[in-house]
């Protein structure tokens, strides 16, 4: 459960990373993020983060679940930062295979 939550969190954060100028290129190739795309990615990102609460709630009572979820957010952010620095290809793969935000891209500038 913990692992699942963490993975969802990392995937959610990937969406946020993809919306930043620094990492847009990694995910999308050329160009820059537009604000529409950014909004879309943020929404999907937040949804991933929210969904990550579910496995936590499965395994713990509400209060503990929230605490653990918050703690995992910290871990996930660091994990993604390290991945982006040292293993960006992995991030790209994760984007391609597991990030729902991708589905919106063709419809957006």
């Amino acid at each position: 459960m913990t692992a699942l939550a963490l993975i969802l969190i990392v995937l959610g954060f990937i969406h946020f990373a993809a919306s930043t100028r620094a990492f847009y290129k990694l995910i999308f190739g050329r160009g820059r993020p537009t604000s529409k795309l950014r909004n879309w990615l943020h929404i999907v990102g937040y949804m991933y983060l929210a969904v990550a609460l579910l496995p936590c709630l499965q395994a713990w009572n509400t209060q503990m679940a929230i605490v653990i979820w918050l703690g995992l957010l910290h871990v996930g952010a660091v994990v993604l930062t390290l991945l982006l620095t040292y293993w960006p290809e992995a991030v790209k793969r994760l984007w391609q295979f597991a990030c729902a935000g991708r589905l919106g891209k063709p419809f957006l500038p």
Partner: protein, 578 residues
């Protein structure tokens, strides 16, 4: 005004943190380890390492208690848990004077049922815990003022840091190692921004935990002399209206086998609660001693199972009044709090009488009132008493990030000014303090753990000696930093720290009655985790040494690509145990 605001906030951020940054680093380093203080204390008490897991700890406990204190007034049993594998027993003998002194207690190996009575005297993780809010060697008031002031400055630094960081989200995941100043900035950002919720929480809660000292105008201490004298225990052990359950819970949580002060504090609390009853019971006892002392067999194991089933969670500790008599009352306390708003107590309880009937059941509701709820939850988050293993590691992780944040902050400051200011007094002072405050702290920590194993177990006052080793090691690093730092100061201190930590596991298994295989067989993960974290810390330190060395050999090259995060800064994990 925007430009003006950011500039002032940058100024405020830099200076409010810089003047106390080494205190903050020490607080963060020791505070982070303190999340695992029970575990550290276990590592530092090798005599406990022989304890093996048992399926029937209750049998061991009651057998021992029956042999040692069959006529006791009360028995208390603390079951082994994920933080400590030993059984803790306490008892108050019949007619014993309730005073502020250590009550009778023993630590038992659950598997063999024998008492471990030669455990070395050590402050263990509690030294680190107390250090992080009181420092050491100065009066408690002074220590708390210093830490409190530093925390307030940190709070200011956090808020001003947020305001000044205009692209806080754009830079979120950016880490660019290998670029001199930018790497430090990134490390600093990673440490601070990515763990911002934690930092805000821990600083704010740290502040209000010290409010007793810092807000000197707050009169009327309901808490019975918490700030002075015998009932010392620091913020973690303040107590209001004496209720038995929270007190004993506090006792349980506060206790690690070897802390005299906290023990005394707990004894006093338990005493106060039972004071009312005592005289009467004594009278009754002595007059009908023979009659009431018929041993009544009580199937503790069965009651234990029932209690667990009723509470729906594992039992954490047990107290038995008038054990082995017909008047016995057995209370089982659970291990999980019903709500975070209870920073003390808050666990369910079931009480049985000698006939095995449930006489009392309680599941505490959350604290009442929004103020108490908010306060309780926040305080719980800081103190982490509620935390299970995962949560504890998560808190620890965030603490490490905080330590990275503080350390990289000061290194960033000097890196930025290296060229222009080298040679100037302020800069040199900061550089020396950086070296001693960061690398030196790691050396001191390593030395503390080494002292624990090197100083013979029977030595008088050895826990003070261990602490003195910590301080002396740090002092040596400081002197070195002041006078010799240009001679590879960082390299040497980091290498020393790295060596100390790298050999901690070896030291552990050589100087403990239980070796590596024994530890694995006994499932002593607390101890093994400590050793693993020590190795990870050593790895971080040595990585830093390696890159420093590389950089020294290729002058002019600014690149320092690095595995973890930075070069000269050894951060990532600190030992601590778990």
């Amino acid at each position: 005004m925007k430009g003006g605001l950011r500039k002032s906030m940058t100024w405020l951020h830099t200076w409010s943190s810089l003047i106390v940054i080494w205190v903050l680093f020490a607080v963060f380093l020791t505070g982070t380890t303190a999340f695992f203080r029970a575990e550290i204390t276990h590592w530092m008490t090798p005599e406990h390492h022989l304890s093996a897991k048992s399926d029937t700890p209750l049998v061991s406990a009651t057998d021992y208690l029956q042999s040692v204190a069959p006529f006791a007034e009360t028995w208390q049993i603390s079951l082994p848990d994920s933080r400590s594998p030993v059984l803790g027993l306490n008892w108050q003998a019949e007619g014993e004077e309730r005073q502020r002194r250590r009550g009778a207690r023993a630590v038992i190996d659950p598997a063999s049922g024998t008492a471990i009575d030669d455990a070395r005297e050590t402050a263990g993780g509690n030294f680190l815990f107390r250090f992080h809010y009181e420092l050491y060697g100065i009066s408690r008031e002074a220590g708390r003022w210093i830490v409190g002031a530093a925390s307030m400055l940190m709070f200011i630094a956090i808020i001003s840091g947020i305001i000044m960081h205009r692209k806080i989200f754009a830079d979120f995941f950016t880490f660019r190692p290998g670029k001199k100043t930018a790497s430090w900035v990134d490390a600093h950002v990673v440490g601070s921004v990515l763990a911002l919720p934690f930092h805000i929480m821990i600083t704010f809660t740290g502040l209000f935990l010290l409010a007793g000292t810092l807000l000197f105008w707050q009169g009327g201490n309901e808490r019975g002399g918490n700030e002075r004298g015998g009932n010392q225990g620091g913020p973690q052990q303040e107590h209001g209206a004496p209720e038995r359950a929270p007190q004993e819970r506090g006792a349980r949580e506060g206790r690690t086998p070897d802390t005299a002060q906290e023990e005394r504090g707990q004894k006093q609390r338990m005493t106060t609660a039972q004071e009312g009853d005592e005289p009467e019971q004594t009278r009754r006892r002595t007059s009908t001693e023979d009659n009431n002392r018929e041993a009544v067999a009580i199937d503790l194991e069965d009651l234990y199972q029932q209690a667990q089933a009723l509470m729906g969670q594992p039992v954490h500790d047990i107290s038995i009044e008038k054990p082995m008599t017909a008047d016995a009352s057995i209370t089982f306390r659970g291990s999980e709090k019903s709500s975070l708003s209870h920073f003390r107590g808050g666990t369910p309880e079931v009480t049985f009488n000698a006939l095995g009937e449930v006489t009392e059941e309680s599941t505490p509701e959350g604290a009442e009132g929004i103020v108490a709820k908010v306060y309780g939850v926040l305080r719980s988050l800081h103190e982490g008493h509620f935390a299970d293993t995962l949560t504890r590691w998560l808190l620890f992780f965030s603490g490490v990030l905080g330590t990275v944040m503080v350390g990289s902050g000061t290194l960033l400051w000097s890196q930025k000014r290296e060229r222009q200011q080298a040679g100037q007094r302020g800069y040199e002072l900061v550089s020396a303090l950086n070296l001693a405050g960061i690398a030196g702290m790691f050396v001191a920590l390593g030395a503390y753990f080494w002292a624990n194993r090197i100083i013979p177990a029977g030595t008088e006052g050895r826990s003070d000696l261990e602490i003195q080793t910590f301080l002396i090691a740090w002092l040596i690093c400081l002197l070195y930093a002041v006078f010799l730092r240009k001679k590879h100061g960082w390299l040497i201190q980091l290498a020393v720290a790295g060596t100390l930590f790298a050999f901690l596991p070896v030291l552990d298994f050589v100087t403990s009655p239980a070796g590596l295989l024994d530890a694995i067989a006994a499932g002593d993960w607390v101890r093994i985790s400590f050793d693993i974290v020590a190795l990870l810390t050593a790895a971080g330190l040595w990585t830093a040494v390696y890159y420093l060395h590389k950089k020294a050999r290729t002058p002019g090259r600014k690149n320092r690509p690095d595995k973890r995060r930075q070069s000269p800064r050894p951060q990532n994990k600190q030992e601590t145990a778990s």
